[in-house]
């Protein structure tokens, strides 16, 4: 399988504290790759580096074999098809779900294109069908601040989907969700992986077991081990630093 993303020797130094100490990691096209590891291992930091929320101190992040993401500003990384979902819901609460999707939608996002933009039938159908898929069609015209926590999470996933990403970065997508909401999110994620590659940070081992195609364990700013969930579970080192503690 072909790599969609390759991190080579990625280092991040927070004024003396080395959060990432030379991470080497490949994401293969079409997989659902889970990133696990104890608190403070640097999982979020790695996602931050990929989407340029955090600047790396050394190393490269190569996307699609040719684009060095670390050289692009945030919004251009998005244009390349790398889309990030943050841990905290980051929808726009004064807009409706429909409007949130409208601005997130894949389109030309420069000032003049947006000034001249008019909602086409096709766009409206696209938004409506996604609203149906994430179960928000009935509340599409309410302000987003009135949505439940789970609904906000789905709206956000919807906002990533409608950008038609090539690589989706999710940070603890099911944190704070009820059992039913978790299952729904997992299914949504599997559906997404039909059209794009997914890199997920998650602590919930049942969730990882159920939906991962491959798992990478991080510890103290480095990749500790990788393989299928089963291989990972049998790895002594991993048991010691992580699984032994959290189950």
């Amino acid at each position: 399988m072909q790599e969609i993303l390759s991190c080579r020797n990625v280092m991040v130094d927070f004024s003396g504290f080395k959060a990432l100490q030379g991470v080497n990691l490949d994401v293969k096209k079409g997989e659902i790759l889970f990133l696990i590891g104890p608190n403070g291992a640097g999982k979020t930091t790695l996602l931050d580096v990929i989407c340029k929320k955090t600047k790396l101190t050394a190393g490269t992040v190569l996307f699609d074999g040719k684009i060095s993401l670390e050289k692009l500003p945030e919004y251009k990384i998005v244009h390349e098809g790398v889309v990030r979902k943050f841990q905290a819901p980051s929808i726009f609460i004064h807009l409706t779900p429909f409007e949130n999707l409208e601005i997130a939608m894949k389109q030309k996002k420069g000032l003049f294109s947006i000034l001249l933009a008019k909602m086409s039938r096709l766009e409206k159908e696209k938004i409506d069908s996604l609203l149906n898929k994430i179960g928000l069609f009935d509340v599409r015209n309410e302000t987003a601040s009135s949505l439940s926590h789970g609904q906000k999470q789905w709206l956000e996933i919807g906002m990533q989907l409608i950008q038609e990403p090539k690589l989706l970065l999710l940070d603890e997508p099911i944190a704070g969700m009820s059992g039913l909401e978790r299952t729904k999110t997992g299914e949504l994620m599997q559906e997404i992986s039909q059209i794009c590659t997914v890199l997920v940070v998650e602590h919930d081992m049942d969730f990882v077991r159920k939906y991962s195609t491959r798992v990478i364990v991080m510890h103290e700013g480095k990749v500790l081990s990788e393989g299928t969930m089963q291989e990972i579970q049998e790895n002594e080192e991993v048991k010691n630093v992580y699984l032994g503690r959290s189950g």
């Binding site: 989407c51 929320k53 500003p73 945030e74 919004y75 998005v78 244009h79 889309v83 990030r84 943050f86 980051s90 726009f92 609460i93 004064h94 807009l95 409007e99 409208e102 601005i103 997130a104 996002k109 420069g110 000032l111 947006i114 000034l115 933009a117 909602m119 906002m159 950008q163």
Partner: protein, 357 residues
């Protein structure tokens, strides 16, 4: 749907009121109202910039002033038969400075009144927004621009007229400015301009662009991770609101007959923000109405109790900040909601009645 009609109705009432007001007001009051309408145009720009986009400029006095000066230069030249403004002659200047020569052309003067403020805003905006300077830091920079500009205008007394500014105009396009006919025409031109500005702004807020503005206000960084570069958007809206202020300056000078550095200083700049805050910065109509109401109160109070005005303005601002974050427009909305709830309760009661009977 109903909400749409109601919005339309508010706008209708507002402009109906403005159209008939001159028939019921003395010339003096009508003149004041005309001035307040100019302020309304500025407040609309501030609503777009601050209310919708979350950028607080404390320096719009400069844009207003630059627009006013551009127009004033043309008027001054028209009022100087020798071709050289009186204050220059007193300074012994015998040849018109180059900058001034261009303002003989009224089209140039009006175009400059709109373009100069928006280009300056675009420049300041680009430099600050590109470097991700925002919030209080931007507000402070916008104030610094005021201080610099006012100082420059006072210092360059030979071409700007110094602290006394530019005044003593007689005609515009050869028509006497003090004629009541001219005044009436200018008043309606101002009403119409305000209408166009409000319609344009209201329209903008309803487009996809308007939603981006709100998104910038609510989470500029999040918007970056949706693939937008907010810089261009912020520069555009800042420049647009500066252009509005410049246009307001043109209409102001035509009707008030004077512009001086003091009128574009820190205090007026802060007052402009207060108008929008008091009327309701999240509402185009609220901001415009806020400018008119606040200034009406100001002229009433400062005529009757001159020492009270500043205290009153301060108190009003406190009340708005503490209890009415959405300004008077928010108050109207609140009252309406309360009534709507009452109505609903009644309806439910009636429904209950009919079930029983």
């Amino acid at each position: 749907m109903i909400k749409k009609y109601r919005q339309g109705a508010y706008y209708g009432i507002f402009f109906l009121f403005l159209s008939v007001a001159p028939f019921f007001l003395t010339d003096f009051r009508a003149g004041l109202l005309a001035k307040f309408l100019c302020y309304g145009i500025i407040a609309v720009g501030i609503s777009l910039l601050w209310g919708y986009t979350g950028i607080l400029s404390l320096g719009h006095g400069v844009f207003f002033g630059l627009g006013a000066y551009c127009m004033a230069m043309y008027l001054k030249l028209e009022a100087s038969p020798s071709g050289i403004p009186d204050f220059m002659e007193w300074n012994g200047i015998t040849e018109l400075p180059f900058i001034w020569t261009m303002f003989k052309n009224p089209v140039f003067a009006i175009a400059a009144a709109v373009l100069v403020p928006s280009l300056i805003a675009a420049f300041i905006g680009y430099v600050t927004f590109k470097n991700r300077i925002k919030g209080v830091f931007f507000s402070i920079i916008s104030q610094a621009v005021v201080v610099v500009t006012v100082t420059l205008f006072i210092g360059a007394q030979q071409i700007t007229g110094g602290t006394s500014g530019l005044t003593n105009f007689f005609t515009v396009f050869q028509v006497p400015l003090t004629d009541s006919g001219t005044k009436t025409i200018l008043y309606y031109v101002t009403v119409f301009t305000l209408f166009l500005i409000m319609a344009l702004s209201f329209g903008l807020t309803k487009t996809r662009f308007g939603k981006i503005l709100i998104a910038i206000r609510d989470g500029e960084n999040r918007l970056r991770f949706l693939g937008y570069n907010p810089t261009g958007y912020k520069v555009f809206i800042y420049a647009l609101s500066a252009a509005f202020a410049g246009l307001a300056g043109v209409l102001f000078v035509l009707q008030v007959g004077i512009i001086s550095p003091e009128m574009m200083g820190i205090i007026p700049s802060v007052e402009m923000v207060l108008w929008a805050a008091i009327g309701g910065r999240f509402s185009i109509l609220g901001a415009a109405a806020g400018a008119i109401l606040t200034n009406s109160a100001k002229s009433y109070l400062s005529e009757s109790y001159p020492e009270f005005w500043t205290i009153f303005l301060g108190a009003l601002f406190l009340v708005v900040v503490l209890y009415l974050p959405n300004g008077l427009a928010g108050l109207v909305e609140k009252v309406k909601l309360r009534f709507a709830k009452k109505e609903k309760k009644e309806e439910v009661k009636h429904a209950g009645d009919s079930l029983v009977s």
